[in-house]
């Protein structure tokens, strides 16, 4: 998993989370703190996926 791929995945997941939140809670304004949370959540998701991918390739 290249760094470029990881960064792209982070951006994509963060956008997905933001859009999902906006659809689920249209009345809640999305501020800077919420955007930061979505980015951090995306980073965590990508980190977990990378870890799982590494473990699988290592064992395989």
């Amino acid at each position: 998993m290249t760094l470029v791929f990881q960064i792209t995945a982070i951006i994509f997941i963060a956008i997905l989370l933001r859009v999902g939140f906006q659809i689920a809670y249209p009345e809640v304004p999305i501020d800077g703190a919420l955007t930061k949370l979505f980015v951090i959540a995306a980073v965590v998701i990508v980190a977990v996926l990378t870890f799982v991918h590494l473990m699988r390739t290592k064992s395989g």
């Binding site: 939140f21 809670y25 809640v28 304004p29 501020d31 930061k36 949370l37």
Partner: protein, 323 residues
């Protein structure tokens, strides 16, 4: 034959047992009513025997568990065993079709005949209190502009110090600046939120409080805001038997107030207004969790930025020292 005898014996035993249990329930209920009346000094010289006789007659008149709230005299209300009063008050409420706000200028001045009575209770003039009022004035219409009959209306009172013209009320409080002024007490000439009436309402609710309102009664000046809904005017009765619907916004993030107020407005239209089915939802809990996580990130980010800044400054100092 023997089998028939055994069945008859069992039936008689069962009937006797249920009769005894019903008697025990009557005694238990009357006993607790007597204790409540005694504590409230409302016995007026009545002995236990007289009270029991009257209580038995009263209970015999009451069809099992469902009795309209209007049939309970106000003077008897404090003596009602709370757990039983709960069901009777809940069933008394007609289906609520709409909610409308109105200003409350003194305790006990609420007009009668409304389906439900709600109160916006604030303990301070903070940003959070202003956020709740903004949501109320935005999402709830003026009660006088509603088409629904009063019996089908939940009237949401906002305690206020002075009466103001209806024309001025329209859209006046939708402006955030006007809400801030309404809460700040800056100008003595204009109307502002009455914390005194809010305090009186809290005192009435917290006179022998039930579990549903414990969080309101145990709160301090920094807690809240709250919305309390009751089947009758709070101003006229104290202590108040349940059911209550308390929306405690203390643990809720300010940005979620709109969602919570909207859930509350749906909740009061439910058959049982106090069952919180529309308020304690997964959607609301998740929103609160997300918003709290986002707010708790702010100090962490600030701390990390502070550390980075400190490291950079130290490195720069070292570099300049070497040169």
């Amino acid at each position: 034959m023997l089998r028939l005898l055994i069945y008859s014996f069992l039936l008689i035993t069962l009937a006797c047992t249920s009769e005894a249990a019903a008697q025990a329930n009557v005694l238990k209920e009357c006993g607790s009513q007597y204790q409540s009346a005694k504590t409230a000094n409302e016995l007026a010289g009545q002995s236990w025997q007289d009270f029991l006789k009257a209580c038995r007659a009263r209970l015999a008149e009451r069809p099992a568990e469902a009795k309209p709230a209007e049939a309970v005299p106000a003077s008897l209300a404090p003596a009602i065993t709370y757990s039983h009063a709960s069901a009777s008050l809940a069933s008394a409420v007609l289906a609520i079709n709409a909610s409308g706000y109105a200003f409350l200028y003194s305790r006990g001045s609420e007009a009668s005949g409304y389906g439900l009575y709600s109160y916006a209770i604030l303990r301070n003039g903070s940003q959070r209190s202003a956020a709740l009022l903004k949501q109320i004035f935005t999402q709830v219409k003026d009660v006088h502009s509603l088409i629904a009959s009063p019996a089908e209306t939940n009237i949401l009172f906002v305690p206020s110090t002075k009466e103001m013209g209806r024309r001025k009320q329209n859209d006046f409080y939708k402006n955030e600046g006007n809400i801030r002024r309404f809460l700040s007490n800056e100008s003595k000439s204009s109307a502002h939120y009455s914390f005194a009436i809010a305090g009186q309402l809290i005192a009435a609710i917290c006179n022998r409080p039930v579990d549903e309102v414990k969080s309101l009664c145990n709160g301090d000046e920094t807690s809240g805001p709250y919305i309390v809904t009751y089947a009758k005017q709070i101003g006229n009765t104290s202590p108040l038997p349940p059911p209550f619907l308390l929306v405690d916004l203390t643990p809720v993030d300010e940005s979620a107030f709109g969602t919570l107020v909207s859930s509350y407005l749906s909740q009061v239209q439910e058959e049982k207004f106090d069952d919180r089915k529309k308020i304690d939802t997964f959607r609301n809990t998740l929103l609160n969790l997300i918003l709290h996580s986002a707010r708790s990130l702010e100090p962490i980010t600030a701390a990390l930025l502070g550390i980075v800044h400190q490291v950079n400054a130290t490195e720069n100092l070292n570099d300049s020292g070497k040169k």
